[in-house]
């Protein structure tokens, strides 16, 4: 390596160079990750199922020609295609308003995934920041936040969310708010605990000896050691968030009624269970498979990412 490589003079060439480095790092990590994932077929399957759901959510208008909200009242409660009366026009049948179930399930994945990702994302950010600070600096800040976390944990999650939603009223933003209101606590406790454990390790002392400041130690030394745990818990909790969303929608406290959501679809089909079981069952199965896939993928992720489980 020579020292007289020309410095990057223009902003664009600098950025190009920077992103080149980042891309190479990501590429290397991705290759390692893929190699590990391939050895865990169940986790791989989970990942593929999640990708299918994601694709469904993004490409919904292109996958189906039906309108998810407007039905055909002459086609009420049509059975799935394998029934003698069923047809491929409505592969999974129709609901009480004559809307295609498959279409509604595909559109419903949008709500579930958006709520899952957003609620988890916001919870992770809040919980991680508070956990890092509380675990590192302790003191009064830690006491106050920890007591608040204990307080929030003392409420059953669903009851708590129902209360918040009843107070705020249905709506997408309110739903995210209700879920993150308590969702951050888990991440806070995880990060705080990990921080307490990491803080006593000698590499932190060594960083201080090397002249690092507190913020640099937190962000550059400790966070990279616990980011894996956050990632794994985030994945596992996402399934939980999706169930919460479905539960709230089931109770009519989720997104507004005109937006198709799996929870409200299950609720709407309850009255027809004996004559048209599919109206409730298929949205329920959609929830089941997504959450199962997320959990299986999360477990695999834990096995791959947690360095403590690895023996080299």
């Amino acid at each position: 390596m020579s020292a007289n490589v020309p410095a990057h003079s223009t902003l664009i060439s600098r950025q190009r160079y920077l992103w080149g480095i980042r891309l190479r790092m990501w590429q290397r990590n991705a290759v390692d990750f893929w190699r590990e994932l391939r050895q865990r077929p169940l986790a791989l399957l989970g990942g593929i199922v999640i990708l299918i759901y994601l694709f469904m959510a993004i490409a919904a208008p292109y996958l189906t020609t039906y309108d998810p909200t407007r039905g055909n009242l002459r086609m009420r409660l049509e059975p799935p295609f394998w029934y003698p009366k069923g047809s491929w026009d409505y592969p999974l049948g129709t609901d009480a308003q004559g809307r295609d179930l498959l279409t509604r399930i595909i559109y419903g994945s949008r709500v579930s995934l958006a709520v899952g990702f957003l609620a988890i994302g916001i919870s992770v950010v809040i919980g991680t920041i508070l956990g890092l600070l509380a675990g590192y600096f302790r003191g009064r800040f830690d006491n106050v936040i920890s007591r608040l976390a204990d307080l929030l944990l003392a409420f059953p999650y669903l009851i708590f969310a129902i209360g918040v939603m009843a107070f705020l009223g249905p709506g997408f933003a309110n739903l995210i708010l209700a879920l993150t209101f308590k969702g951050w606590v888990e991440f806070f406790r995880l990060v705080r605990g990990e921080m307490l454990a990491e803080k006593t390790k000698e590499y932190v002392e060594a960083a201080r000896v090397a002249g690092m400041g507190h913020w640099a130690i937190i962000v550059k030394e400790i966070l990279p050691n616990i980011v894996h745990s956050i990632f794994v818990l985030g994945t596992l909790r996402m399934g939980h968030m999706i169930i919460m969303e479905a539960s709230l929608s089931f109770l009519g406290l989720g997104v507004p009624p005109h937006i198709p959501a799996w929870g409200s679809m299950v609720a709407a089909g309850r009255d027809y269970l004996l004559i048209a079981w599919w109206v409730s069952t298929f949205p329920g199965l959609a929830i089941l498979f997504l959450v199962l896939a997320i959990n299986v993928f999360g477990e695999g992720l834990r096995d791959i990412l947690d360095p403590r489980l690895k023996i080299e």
Partner: protein, 334 residues
């Protein structure tokens, strides 16, 4: 020897408040270290050896604090510096290595990157552009890192640059740690039991390495150890600590060959030696005293075979007991 010593510790007292009173972990310690010297601090666990090192870096964990004294490093009193000035000294001027190299290295980063981090922290290489952009500065840094890895004896540094700490053996980890400590070219290296966690053969290699660094770079070293053998082999001078105080101090051959304080004698007696099977080991009777409210006089008196009533009546000064400034704090030599 130059006129101003590299490090001069005067009357250093570090205390940890507890419910029962103040624990004086370091109690009125005076030490002087010249450039290029190797000083050993020996003593039992909990006698305050490591606290002395942490006090020098001002990294005593709260609620502990340095209650008294001066620490003059190159003529500047470290205890009066601001936090920012102190951070610049840590790692750059005074570096430290620890007992357990694996837990001291950050498990999340490759070893080479950790060495480079030390360079970046102290802006050793000044690039024209902010760090990740300046390719010239980056390759210069990498060059320095590879050079230091080679200097501390990590074979094929190019291949090892991207290795993670757990892929290194214990000895290699300690070498990597030494590389991190040395890469900014400190004039003082604090070594806290650097060989305790290693095999005996590796111990010797690491000590050799540290001696070579001392000779080639002129880095002064303070070695804290409970192993008198290591200290005897490695150091120029030795300070023996007991219950937060220095009880005997002097050139290594004097202190080890002709110990004058009963505690030093006891330490040497209680050490098994190779090839002397029939010899009885004489442990020192009793335990290390409670560091809360130590008596004014000799802290070793309750365990000392020569103790007299006068021992605990008042502070005991250092008495000269041999050549080249060999001193002991014992009234036997009054």
């Amino acid at each position: 020897m130059s006129d101003t010593p590299l490090l001069e510790i005067k009357n250093l007292t570090t205390i940890y408040p507890t419910k029962r009173g103040n624990v004086r972990a370091v109690d009125g310690v005076d030490l002087t270290l010249h450039e290029g010297e190797i000083l050993g601090i020996v003593g039992e666990s909990g006698c305050g050896k490591s606290t002395v090192l942490l006090s020098i870096l001002r990294l005593i964990r709260k609620p502990g604090r340095i209650a008294n004294g001066h620490i003059l490093f190159k003529g500047r009193d470290l205890l009066t510096l601001s936090g920012r000035e102190m951070r610049e000294i840590r790692g750059k001027e005074i570096a430290m290595i620890f007992q357990d190299p694996l837990s001291t290295l950050n498990p999340a980063f490759p070893v080479g990157e950790q060495i480079r981090e030390s360079l970046r922290l102290h802006h050793i290489v000044n690039g024209r552009l902010p760090w990740p952009l300046d390719r010239a500065a980056r390759s210069k840094e990498k060059e320095i890192v590879l050079k230091i890895m080679e200097e501390v004896g990590i074979p094929s540094p190019m291949d090892r640059y991207r290795s993670y700490p757990h892929q290194f053996s214990g000895g290699m980890q300690q070498r990597a740690l030494i590389a991190i400590a040395l890469v900014c070219g400190p004039s003082l290296l604090l070594a806290d039991e650097p060989t305790t966690a290693l095999d005996v053969t590796i111990q010797a290699q690491i000590l050799d390495l540290m001696r070579r660094i001392n000779q080639e770079r002129g880095t002064a070293i303070i070695l804290v150890t409970h192993d008198l053998g290591v200290a005897a082999e490695f150091c120029d001078s030795i300070a023996v600590m007991y219950a937060g105080r220095i009880v005997e101090q002097g050139p290594v051959d004097q202190v080890i060959g002709n110990p004058q304080h009963p505690y030093t004698q006891g330490l040497l007696e209680s050490r098994p030696r190779l090839g002397e099977r029939g010899r009885r080991i004489h442990p020192i009777p009793g335990n290390v005293p409670d560091l809360v409210d130590l008596p004014e006089g000799c802290a070793f008196a309750p365990r000392c075979p020569y103790a007299r009533p006068e021992c605990t009546e008042g502070p005991i000064p250092f008495y000269p007991v041999g050549e080249n400034g060999h001193v002991a704090r014992c009234i036997l030599h009054a």
